[in-house]
């Protein structure tokens, strides 16, 4: 729909311009009322539900990827590339866990992301702490069918997060801006675990 022939109204001020581009997407706004019972969100949720039989195996794949990233660090050390691989693997699990039906897994992955991201010198990250996070992710997923899985995951996460934050605060003691970021709130409701 976009074209080079877009027109726009420009209002020029002393040091800035306000540009109102032509909204060609307006063509997609329908004047017709929705058909009775037609709910695009419900339709999309239903489509996602039909895909959900794959989610468990997708989560296993993400866990395997996380495990491989951890193993690569053990082999090669915390190089920038390996550090990024570990971060991305944990970050993807953090973002996907709830969608895949394992929401209690996300906070552990988030803690690992923080550990990798905010440590000023990756070589000083205790490998044992990385192992504990990776193993915790695996264990939570493996035991998710248990009735107390969410509670156990919560306790495990809380302890790992405490140890991680203590380490990060110590490592960043001369970097107040990072300390502020570590303790900074999320603006997304329900995402402030501590």
């Amino acid at each position: 729909m976009a074209s080079k022939e877009d027109s726009a109204a420009i209002t020029t001020y002393a040091d800035y311009e306000v540009i109102a581009p032509q909204n060609k997407l307006r063509n997609a706004i329908s004047d017709e009322p929705a058909a009775p019972g037609d709910d695009p969100v419900a339709r999309a949720e239903q489509a996602l539900d039909q895909l959900s039989f794959e989610f468990s195996s997708w989560m296993d794949e993400e866990c395997d990827r996380l495990g491989r990233a951890r193993d690569a660090i053990k082999t090669d050390g915390f190089s920038p590339k390996r550090r990024e691989e570990l971060f991305h693997a944990a970050h993807d699990i953090k973002g996907e866990a709830a969608t895949f039906g394992f929401p209690a897994c996300a906070p552990v992955a988030d803690s690992l992301c923080r550990l990798v991201e905010f440590a000023p010198d990756a070589k000083r990250i205790p490998m044992q702490l990385v192992d504990q996070h990776v193993d915790a992710v695996r264990a939570i997923i493996r035991e998710y069918a248990r009735s107390d899985a969410v509670e156990l995951a919560g306790r495990l996460t809380e302890r790992l997060r405490e140890v991680t934050d203590d380490f990060l605060v110590q490592e960043n003691r001369d970097r107040p801006e990072v300390i502020a970021l570590i303790g900074g709130p999320s603006i997304v409701p329900g995402q402030n675990p501590r």
């Binding site: 729909m1 976009a2 074209s3 080079k4 022939e5 877009d6 027109s7 726009a8 109204a9 420009i10 209002t11 020029t12 001020y13 002393a14 040091d15 800035y16 311009e17 306000v18 540009i19 109102a20 581009p21 909204n23 060609k24 997407l25 307006r26 063509n27 997609a28 706004i29 329908s30 009322p33 929705a34 695009p40 969100v41 339709r43 999309a44 239903q46 489509a47 996602l48 895909l51 997708w58 794949e61 993400e62 971060f87 991305h88 953090k94 973002g95 996907e96 866990a97 709830a98 969608t99 895949f100 929401p103 996300a106 988030d110 992301c113 900074g184 999320s186 603006i187 997304v188 995402q191």
Partner: protein, 182 residues
């Protein structure tokens, strides 16, 4: 709520994670979209952007080669791309205020924190289609107006200087922004 004909919109989904791309594609098709193209990193995303001319870009933040923020900055180069005004919806596992502000300052139109929901994505698409914000161009910023509302109780310096000039109507905006000093 406004009803959108998704079949009239062309989407570009950029995410390095194949599972997330599949989920996004499923949701978009569920909404009624027919055209949803995909790219797996920022570089191929930029190439796909130029090739497919999407109406809406949905991009992840954390990606290899260059990330969603860098991709947004490249798209929001007046004159460098065919459509620097394209709505960009950024998906991210990052939800800290500082991150959201960084995304806004890069020129992102809407921000959607993971975990993704059909309702959250739908609302943002409706927003960019039905309620587009004007663009602001300064020496240091080009992107959607970062002020979503006027706060009558705001106390502090006015960072934008006044001196209103005439409204200029023009047909070929891109020619204007490509011109030196434009």
């Amino acid at each position: 709520m406004v009803r959108i004909e998704f079949s009239k919109l062309r989407f570009l989904v950029i995410d390095d994670n194949a599972h997330m791309r599949r989920i996004l594609r499923t949701l978009l098709h569920g909404f009624g979209a027919r055209e949803a193209y995909e790219a797996e990193d920022g570089a191929s995303g930029l190439e796909a952007f130029s090739h497919y001319l999407p109406d809406i870009v949905i991009t992840d933040w954390a990606m290899p080669i260059f990330d969603g923020i860098e991709l947004t900055q490249m798209i929001r180069q007046p004159g460098a791309n065919v459509n620097p005004y394209v709505p960009i919806i950024m998906l991210s596992g990052h939800s800290e205020k500082k991150r959201v502000t960084a995304a806004r300052d890069a020129g992102v139109t809407e921000f959607l924190a993971k975990p993704i929901s059909a309702k959250g994505l739908y609302e943002r698409i409706v927003n960019v289609v039905a309620s587009p914000r004007p663009f602001i161009k300064t020496k240091t910023y080009f992107g959607p107006d970062r002020r979503r509302s006027v706060n009558p109780n705001y106390v502090g310096p006015e960072r934008r200087k006044g001196g209103k000039a005439d409204i200029i109507r023009q047909v070929a905006l891109l020619d204007k922004v490509r011109a030196p000093g434009g």
